[in-house]
Symmetry: C2
Subunit: 458 residues, 2 copies
């Protein structure tokens, strides 16, 4: 009890209460996600095809849309014990500063060295790679949170890791690169001369800064041309949403202790891994008619997959070598204008969230970055945590909803996901502090043009 | 219970169990600390003299060596609720990696945006300034942890903050500067043209990188020449040790729950605030004959106040404007060779710890920085937390002690203080990763020379 309050500032589960199963929301969905398609044949990807790129057990999880609960192996639970359970925080100071009758809660995933929720899936993917007897895994990283999380997981399990880091991030975020190296990862700026695709791109665009799409292509090429390696990915995929369900399961268990049933659940959405994980058990209740909670996905106005994109099959990468997924997308060739939330610049969206949005189970809202940083700064000063720009999208909308409650006088329970900390994003905060930050919203023509390039699928 | 273990990975107190009193170890010490002396008259500093520089209530705490328990005001406890209690972690993974029969515990103070234990005293000092009706406070910062902690505290209370940041840190650590600015602090590189002492130094040494001693002088000048301001300091002082006792009180309460009585307690020591706080209640037991625990202060070989310094009156700053304290010191004019643990480069040591060391209640050990970073990397990879270079001094000795237990087969309980995270120290990790780090130990002549310049006190 917090200084006389019936609910503490931070609701912690005990370590015994860390979930022992992941929850597979797809098993409860009325309309299942459409299958991944082979980018060349446009036929559903088979397990055999997927296993050339991904670990066997992860392919099984990717394709399984019927098993509700999937046991978390003990080795992964051991690792979870190092940094979980993460707290649900009651934002008493924020509520007071706003003067809202709403009760605001956030699930804080930033209290680990990777600085975000990415670690939840990184350890799972690394574990299955190790179990399969692999030497190592490859991946790409942009902002660096996923690369860091994977480096920590691979160091823990003694697995080799090759990270292809978008060149401009490699140069602008030396700190991120060093964390990965300290955890033993081999970090290569992308495009590089170590892969065919990298060499081709360097030849065509000698001064290029690189892109996530290019880094993905290099990581996939390395994995598929080196014995004992597979490729792993930190978002978008169903398996990632599955692992991230631990966020929602813990949040629900914590709130249940105090009989709190959130009316509104809010999360930022780039590829969708955090939001899919946070909402999973709450959405399961809604699907089964046990709740009428409202769910809000928040995306940057500069990359508005939900709010201005199409629900269609599209490539997951700009290089068009990855499978096609049916999802909300602004087109794999869409280039978002600069935005400081690097983790939200992906053109598409988790197929699970896309289906739910299509079915009217989920709302979406797009917000501009200056208003996001205003919310971030306000939150930092009142709640004492410097948030990641990505997470601050959720903060923005949580504050907006709490302000509405102030007008209506309604005591709503609001839960949002605070996915990570902004310790490696201080150049963005500098721009905001110096008044140099601007908003940039794509025109209708820009989006329409990118959408004309969607693949034609029968 | 952690996967069948009787003790969880992380022992958390409930929020109700956050201590409501600080513990003033001086009340139990057989030999009290010598009084602070006026740097000009060499007479004991009076309250009135101290109150020109420091807040009234903090002066009272500074001079009080008889009251055992001092109530923590409710407003400070409210703030503590945002990030405390901090966990005591059982280092199962580290123990396994070393193969030691020892049980290793660490009190982790890094899970807050300031990244260290400094926040415990920052909020207390800011609170008393606010209560006194001041407009604001001034301080200096080197590595930036103290400045960040104080900026967070002042933002929370609506207090103005002027930080004088050592110029080279200001330039090399833009991230640290930005966090402080995001929390509304005014950050000035030191030496600056805004103070007399700054202008004098700039005239004498036009290209200077600045020093902590100079920044202190500027901060003190600003506070004493501006109505409504006082100066605050993050270490060395008795009041800081008092506030930091919350570390030890929580650690003891957590370990008591599982009947663990540490045999060895280890902490890094720069000015001594963290170590004094961590050991306080355990040392109280030892003084009162209820324990025979061993206490180890770990300092860098490059700045060996305990292991190679003198127990004597010395200035707390290089500018010789601050009071004289009786402490272990290598001399206020000693310039430590470069070391990446910026927080451990102070020439002196907490008067409380100095007296205890002098009385044989505390051991000290000095370690070289390459071996410290080896320990840091090993710890990061096994325990999943990237430690601050300062904290890693304690890790080094904890591992050394655990290795001894491996030889002797003894199941000792080892507790150390993990004061903070290394997220803003990645340029140091880069040097280590690239094999560019070296050790540098002062010669006997260098230390002897610095000691000849100690003030002559009757």
């Amino acid at each position: 009890m917090a200084n006389g309050n019936p609910i503490p500032y931070k609701i912690f589960l005990t370590e015994n209460e860390i979930p022992s199963f992941w929850y597979n929301l797809r098993a409860d969905m009325k309309n299942k996600c459409a299958p991944l398609l082979n980018p060349e044949t446009h036929k559903p990807m088979t397990s055999a095809e997927l296993e050339k790129v991904f670990c066997k057990e992860l392919v099984r999880q990717e394709l399984d849309d019927t098993t509700r609960l999937i046991p978390i192996p003990e080795e992964i639970r051991d690792f979870y014990h190092m940094y979980r359970p993460s707290p649900v925080v009651r934002a008493y100071c924020l509520e007071k500063a706003i003067g809202t009758p709403a009760h605001i809660y956030y699930k804080f995933e930033g209290n680990n060295t990777s600085g975000s929720h990415k670690l939840n899936s990184a350890i799972a993917q690394a574990f299955y790679a190790k179990k399969q007897g692999l030497i190592g895994v490859t991946t790409e990283t942009g902002a660096g949170q996923w690369g860091t999380a994977l480096a920590m997981s691979c160091a823990y399990l003694g697995l080799d890791l090759k990270v292809f880091m978008v060149k401009i991030s490699y140069e602008q975020k030396p700190g991120r690169k060093e964390v990965m190296r300290t955890y033993g990862a081999d970090v290569t700026p992308s495009p590089s001369t170590t892969t065919n695709v990298g060499r081709r791109i360097l030849e065509a665009f000698p001064g290029t800064n690189g892109s996530l799409g290019c880094a993905i292509s290099e990581a996939v090429e390395y994995a598929t041309t080196h014995e004992g390696y597979r490729y792993v990915l930190g978002s978008v995929l169903n398996q990632v949403a599955l692992h991230q369900s631990i966020i929602g399961l813990e949040a629900k268990a914590a709130l249940d202790k105090y009989n709190v049933r959130p009316d509104i659940i809010i999360g930022c959405a780039g590829g969708g891994s955090n939001l899919a994980g946070l909402i999973a058990p709450f959405m399961g209740e809604k699907i089964n008619g046990m709740s009428d909670a409202k769910f809000i996905a928040v995306e940057p106005a500069s990359c508005p997959s939900f709010t201005r994109g199409s629900f269609a099959y599209d490539y997951c990468d700009t290089g068009k070598v990855c499978p096609l997924a049916k999802m909300y997308t602004v087109g794999s060739q869409f280039i978002p204008s600069p935005n400081h939330a690097g983790g939200l610049r992906f053109h598409g969206m988790s197929p699970i969230l896309s289906q739910l949005y299509h079915d009217g189970m989920l709302e979406a809202r797009s917000v501009e970055q200056t208003s996001v940083f205003e919310a971030a700064e306000f939150f930092a000063r009142t709640e004492g945590i410097l948030p990641a720009p990505e997470s601050s999208h959720a903060i923005r909308v949580a504050i907006d909803e709490a302000m509405k409650c102030k007008k209506t006088g309604k005591e709503k329970d609001i839960l949002f996901g605070l996915t990570g900390t902004g310790y490696f994003d201080l150049s963005s905060y500098r721009k905001f502090n110096d008044g140099e930050m601007s908003d940039s919203i794509p025109t209708d023509e820009e989006i329409a043009k990118a959408l004309t390039q969607l693949p034609q699928v029968e």
